[in-house]
Every structure is written in structure tokens, then in C-alpha cells.
């Protein structure tokens, strides 16, 4: 049971590549690895703790205001995360700008609360929230890794491609400016989905 909750969101039921949830922020914050890592961590925290808290409350929540209660809990967590980033990671929080606030609207969170946390005990819900956030984060970091390496020649701001390779220094290499633009995130994501589907054939729809 736990193994399934733990592993499924990372690969076979990945929220981005299989369920195709949370795409817009995945496209927006993957130009550099650092904001992608911070975003991934923020989402993991919010999915994990919102599932945990709502699972604790699940038998007390009045059914008619169920969604409102969920939103209040999620929004509170997101604001707390945003405030902490502003205090301790100011520069990254500036780069993430509105996208931290928009975690509230990330379909993964509400989806997991409705589908899992409200019907399960707190501990499995917590793990389910964390791993779904991690599944999202995994793709975010993978896309950001490719984009920062090919688009800027750096990883986490550290130069990876040797300076002597660059054309301006008499070499043969040039950073691919196209990779930094948002459409390339979509194309890289498409390639990731393609690779995943060719590995696990079960994901391919029957004709």
C-alpha cells in the first residue's frame, strides 16, 4: 500500500506528465534550476501539509463548505511559504514572483485533497501529498536542468560549459537562446512525456 502511494506519483501517475496537472507553473519557473528547486520544495510542502491537515479534519468538515475549507487551508499554507521565502530567499522569491501565490490554484493540490486526503487517514495522506508534490518537482527540476544547461551554459548559476568553447572566445559553441523562451519548456515537457510513454507502454491509449 505505502509503496504504491510512494512510487506511483513519481512515475506511473506523475501529476505533470501523466495527469497533466500544474503545467503553467511548470513552464514558467523552469528557466533556471534554482527557482525550479525552490518552487518544487514549496509545492511539496504545501501538498504534504494541506493533505495532512485536511485529513485530520476530514470527519469534522461540514460537507456544504468542504471546498471553501480546503481552499482556506491551502491558501494559508501558500501565504506562509511565500512569507518565509520573502524573508529567507528574497532573490528567488522575486524570480518566482506571482507563481508562489499561484500554487493555490495548482490543480495537483485540490485534486489530491479531494481524491485522497478526505477519504484516508492522516499519515497515508501526508505521504500521498508529499510524493505528488515530489512528482511535480521531479519534472520541474528535470526540465529546468536541461533549460539552464543548454540555454545559459550554467547549473545553479555555476558555469558548466567551459568558457573556451564559446565562439566569442574562439571556440565552436553558443548558448541556445531558444531554450530560455517559454515554448521550449513545452517542447521539452513533450519529449519527457514521449520518453516516459515509450518506457511504460501501459500509458499509451488504445486506438
Amino acid at each position: 500500500m505505502f509503496k504504491k502511494i510512494f512510487l506511483e506519483p513519481l512515475f506511473k501517475g506523475n501529476p505533470i506528465t501523466v495527469l497533466v496537472l500544474g503545467i503553467c507553473s511548470a513552464l514558467a519557473v523552469t528557466v533556471k534550476l534554482e527557482p525550479a528547486l525552490v518552487m518544487a520544495l514549496s509545492v511539496i510542502i504545501v501538498t504534504g501539509f494541506s493533505s495532512l491537515i485536511l485529513s485530520f479534519l476530514r470527519n469534522t468538515i461540514p460537507n456544504r463548505i468542504r471546498i471553501i475549507v480546503q481552499l482556506v487551508v491551502v491558501a494559508t499554507l501558500v501565504i506562509i511559504v511565500d512569507q518565509i521565502l520573502r524573508a529567507y530567499a528574497y532573490n528567488v522569491s522575486k524570480q518566482l514572483s506571482v507563481f508562489v501565490g499561484l500554487i493555490i490554484t495548482n490543480c495537483i493540490i485540490m485534486g489530491r485533497i479531494e481524491a485522497f486526503a478526505l477519504g484516508n487517514k492522516p499519515w497515508p495522506s501526508f505521504v500521498d501529498g508529499l510524493t505528488n508534490g515530489a512528482g511535480y518537482g521531479l519534472i520541474l527540476v528535470a526540465v529546468a536542468f536541461i533549460r539552464e544547461l543548454l540555454g545559459s551554459g550554467t547549473l545553479l548559476g555555476v558555469q558548466i560549459i567551459p568558457q573556451s568553447w564559446y565562439m566569442t572566445n574562439g571556440g565552436f559553441y553558443e548558448n541556445n537562446g531558444l531554450i530560455i523562451l517559454p515554448p521550449m519548456a513545452l517542447i521539452i515537457l513533450g519529449i519527457v512525456i514521449w520518453i516516459q510513454r515509450s518506457i511504460s507502454k501501459g500509458l499509451i491509449e488504445k486506438q
Binding site: 470527519n59 461540514p62 463548505i65 487551508v73 506562509i80 524573508a87 528574497y90 532573490n91 514572483s97
Partner: protein
């Protein structure tokens, strides 16, 4: 207990809201001093950067204290030339001994405030450097005003022509080569570009008495 009754729902919602409000107020109060010092440090960094100082922050472990040190080292004088509205001036003494004057510009962009710092050489005419920032312009379009590439265009431009105030125009479709009073606008960011042009005109105009007093000394 009947969790669907009106009374229960009402009490539940009230308690939830109070708990959440208390939690948020607590977090906000605890973190406010740190956030304020980050904002202050960011402002100082922008002032320094408009004068081409403190450009490299990689490898700096304590960002805020580094910025404070640099600020104290280079910004030798700061004052307001007028108090209504406030017109701050920061005098930076560069390594070669020359002085540049950093003035603050601010205005209204498409979605929220935009602002920046312009450093002028001591002829009070030639722009030495510029930095722009914004609250929430469209990423990839208007938000490009905060990039180095955009700000670099302003270097060497002049705001006066034969003692007549002209400011800098931000030209859609590209400034003519050799035009000393114009820079290229941002494709797809026309409203922000126009707002920036207006901001420069209005903010710099307010400083004219100060510029004149400096040049006629």
C-alpha cells in the same frame, strides 16, 4: 454530531477563520523585520548598480551585509532636494575619484508601479547608468525593463539638448542610430515602454532645479 446543520457549519467556519487569521498575523509579524531589511538592501543594491557598482554577487555569503558595506563605501552623500514629493539624491564617489549623482524615478506601469535609479555624470546631462524594476509587469514582455540589456541602452544618452530638457524617449520599432535622446522600446511591451518614457520625463523634470543648481555652480 450532525455536521450538516446550519449552526455547526457557521461555528466551524468562524473558528476556522479566526485560527487562520491568528496564524497568518503571527507569521507576518515575526518575519516583517527580515523582509524589511531585504527590501532596504535591494534598494541600496539598485542604487549601487545604477552606478555600475556591486555587479557581481556570486560567492557573496551574506548578501545584505555586503550590500551595506558597499553602500557605505561608495555612497558618500545622500539627501533630498525637495520634500514634496520626495526627491532623493545619492552621490557616489567612484574608484577613479569622479562623482556620479543617482536620482530616483518612479511611475505607473501596466499592472502596477515601476521605478528605477538613474546615475548622471557631473555634467548633470549624460546618463552613466540605469536600473529599472517593476512590481508586476507581464513576464517576458513589459517585465523586460528590469533586464541589464534594456538598461544598458541608456548609458551615454543625454537628457538635455542645449540646456533644453528633453528626457529620453522609448521608441517603438527602434531608436534611430545616433539619437542621443532615445532608446529601443520592448516588443510586445508597448504600454510598459510608454509608461517608462512618461516616468522618466515626469521624474527627471522634477529634478531640473537641482540639475541647474549643480551645473551653474
Amino acid at each position: 454530531m450532525n455536521t450538516n446543520s446550519n449552526t455547526y457549519t457557521f461555528i466551524y467556519a468562524s473558528i476556522l477563520v479566526v485560527v487562520v487569521a491568528a496564524a497568518l498575523a503571527f507569521v507576518s509579524e515575526v518575519l516583517k523585520p527580515i523582509q524589511q531589511s531585504n527590501i532596504e538592501s535591494e534598494k541600496r543594491l539598485n542604487i549601487l548598480r545604477s552606478a555600475h557598482l556591486a555587479l557581481e554577487l556570486n560567492g557573496v555569503s551574506n548578501r545584505n551585509s555586503y550590500v551595506a558595506d558597499m553602500f557605505n563605501k561608495y555612497v558618500t552623500n545622500s539627501y533630498c532636494v525637495d520634500n514634496d514629493p520626495k526627491l532623493p539624491v545619492y552621490e557616489c564617489t567612484l574608484d577613479d575619484g569622479s562623482t556620479v549623482y543617482v536620482v530616483e524615478v518612479s511611475g505607473q506601469g501596466l499592472w502596477g508601479p515601476i521605478w528605477g535609479f538613474i546615475s548622471l555624470k557631473d555634467d548633470m546631462n549624460t546618463i552613466y547608468g540605469a536600473v529599472f524594476d517593476h512590481k508586476g509587469e507581464t513576464p517576458g514582455l513589459g517585465a523586460e525593463i528590469s533586464t541589464k540589456e534594456f538598461a544598458r541602452q541608456f548609458e551615454g544618452k543625454t537628457i538635455f539638448d542645449n540646456n533644453r530638457f528633453i528626457s529620453i524617449s522609448v521608441v517603438k520599432g527602434g531608436a534611430k542610430p545616433g539619437d542621443n535622446h532615445a532608446v529601443d522600446a520592448i516588443s510586445g511591451g508597448t504600454i510598459t515602454s510608454n509608461a517608462l518614457q512618461e516616468m522618466l520625463y515626469n521624474s527627471l523634470e522634477a529634478y531640473i532645479p537641482f540639475f541647474n543648481s549643480k551645473t551653474h555652480q
